[in-house]
């Protein structure tokens, strides 16, 4: 449904988005994960057609964003970073306006308003003027507006920003429900959020797409370069030689333990093979005092940080 290929946006010598390529299929929720300023918003705005790309192309439902903008606009619901609400209007008047522009037939408008206000829990405020609403309500009104007309593609720029935990929960439910038969791309910098609702995660930083995979796929990818941490009392040089002789250990970092004299903390980079920990344990425990050995389970948080701070050698998996 969404097809982005080699998208680039440059501002003078800054590349806000640099050669980004990905697809979002129907019935799929893709989380767009990256720190602030990574290029998430810029990419989304290019998909909506608000912002022209420097090069590359974006397609929605097979229509090129720049060649057939009308066809694209008819098919997307977009929630920008700041909810685009007219503060002097009432919630109802605002939604009614958007529904009319989206071409919802007059007879169906009431039902459609009912549907989105219920989904976004806005029933209590439909008669209120928007300037009286809290940030959370405005955010949800922005989401309701995007849902109007049941668009095939939803683009949500940080839909949970500014919400309290309960509202975040509800908003995620709305997105999850919507994602069953639509294509949803939503951006966030909250890692936990993508694990909860996304089938795939795209990690972006400095305008580059670093990885796109399922949360578990990313986890697996990182396990390729897994880490085993151990604490042991041993002479440094001998320990280093012993560990490096083990098949599967690729790198070492040995430093004295802060807690106890003579004890060393060792971080071993190991490859994905099973049994490497056991081999380490055997090799060390036979000669020295092994206090602790632990395989670090990569959380998505770590993966994110790993990608964002140091993109893995070998480049992107896109």
């Amino acid at each position: 449904m969404i097809e982005v290929s080699h998208l680039v946006k440059s501002y003078r010598d800054l590349k806000a988005v640099n050669d980004v390529t990905f697809k979002v299929e129907k019935g799929e929720i893709v989380g767009f994960l990256g720190p602030n300023g990574a290029g998430k918003t810029t990419t989304m705005r290019m998909i909506t057609g608000v912002l022209p790309p420097t090069s590359g192309s974006a397609k929605v439902a097979g229509f090129d964003v720049f060649e057939q903008p009308m066809e694209v606009k008819k098919r997307i619901g977009y929630l920008p970073e700041t909810p685009p609400v007219y503060t002097d209007m009432t919630v109802r008047a605002y939604l009614r306006f958007v529904a009319r522009v989206k071409g919802v037939p007059r007879s169906a408008i009431a039902a459609e308003l009912e549907r989105v206000t219920t989904a976004c829990r806005l029933e209590a405020v439909v008669r209120q003027e928007i300037f009286k609403l809290s940030k959370g309500y405005r955010q949800r009104l922005g989401l309701a507006q995007a849902l109007l007309g049941n668009p095939e593609v939803l683009l949500l720029d940080e839909p949970t920003a500014g919400l309290d935990p309960g509202q975040i929960q509800e908003t995620r439910e709305v997105i999850r429900g919507f994602g069953r038969d639509h294509a949803v791309l939503f951006s966030t910098h909250i890692v936990a959020e993508v694990t909860l609702i996304c089938r795939r995660v795209a990690i972006i930083d400095h305008g580059r797409l670093l990885a796109i995979d399922s949360p578990s796929g990313l986890q697996r990818a990182v396990e390729q370069t897994n880490r085993v941490t151990l604490q042991v009392t041993a002479p440094t040089q001998a320990l280093r030689e012993q560990l490096l002789s083990i098949d599967g250990v690729t790198a070492l970092d040995i430093r004295p333990s802060p807690s106890e004299r003579g004890m060393l903390t060792v971080d071993c980079q190991v490859d994905a093979r099973n049994g490497v920990e056991a081999a380490i344990a055997r090799a060390v425990a036979g000669r020295w005092d092994l206090h602790r050995l632990e395989r670090q389970q990569p959380t998505l948080e770590n993966i994110f940080l790993m990608y964002v701070t140091a993109p893995p050698a070998g480049g992107r998996r896109a």
């Binding site: 903008p69 606009k73 002097d88 522009v101």
Partner: protein, 235 residues
């Protein structure tokens, strides 16, 4: 079409939810009422000629107030992002908003019809001349609003939009006066042709010249096209 209509209705509602529409109409009617009394009762002539002249100048000060928010407010509130991603073409947005502003102009103008009551009660004014004056006034207003709308599409700052509009409109109003400083026939002709005021004078005198009608409509068409083109380009 329905998109243009929806934008138009939203625009008009916005004018009446804010003080702008009331302010503009009130100031205009008070001003026009004053000028009307001044012109008619002091001279004793039952014409609208002097009043129309003053209405034109008053219009120049009020058009920026009407037009400044058209796009600038949308930019600064972030709602431009909504309009540009909804299934609306730049032309639909521009036209819907413009028609909203023109409706305010029409209301202002209609309000001044009250002044005609004493004119017809106590004298015998020339109806065709008055009619021509009103046609000219609305056309002048339409051209001015389109210019104002163009400057509002160019900046997110309403004050800047209003100030530039006022300056440009004043320039086009007074450009005719430059004629007296020119020897060159061509330049005199050009200044005369560009003058918003000189075309308006024809209408006030009861002449509905095709050239003048076309002039105002072309000014409106050009500036509206530029607004739509800018929106399309800005994407």
């Amino acid at each position: 079409m329905s998109g243009t209509l929806a934008v138009y209705q939203k625009e008009l509602a916005t004018y009446f939810r804010s003080p702008i529409a009331y302010y503009v109409v009130a100031v205009f009617l008070l001003g026009t009422g004053y000028f009307f009394l001044y012109n008619v009762f002091l001279t004793g002539e039952t014409t609208m000629a002097g009043t129309f002249q003053n209405m034109g100048i008053l219009l120049l000060t009020l058009v920026p107030v009407i037009s400044m928010r058209l796009f600038s407010a949308e930019y600064s509130a972030g709602t431009a992002e909504l309009l540009l991603t909804l299934p609306l073409s730049p032309w639909q947005i521009v036209l819907g908003k413009y028609l909203g502003a023109v409706t305010i102009l029409t209301l202002m103008t209609a309000g001044t019809l009250v002044d005609l009551v004493p004119l017809y009660l106590f004298g015998t004014p020339e109806t065709t001349t008055i009619l021509a004056g009103y046609i000219g006034f609305v056309l002048l207003g339409m051209a001015c609003l389109a210019v104002g709308q163009l400057f509002s599409t160019l900046t997110h700052n309403q004050i800047v939009a209003a100030l530039i509009t006022a300056a440009v409109l004043l320039g086009f109003w007074f450009v005719g006066h430059l004629q007296s400083f020119q020897r060159s026939e061509e330049l005199r002709g050009l200044f005369g042709y560009l003058s918003f005021a000189l075309h308006f004078v024809d209408f006030i005198q009861g002449l509905v010249r095709t050239e003048a009608v076309v002039f105002y409509l072309v000014v409106a068409a050009i500036t509206l096209t530029l607004s739509a083109a800018y929106l399309a380009w800005r994407r």
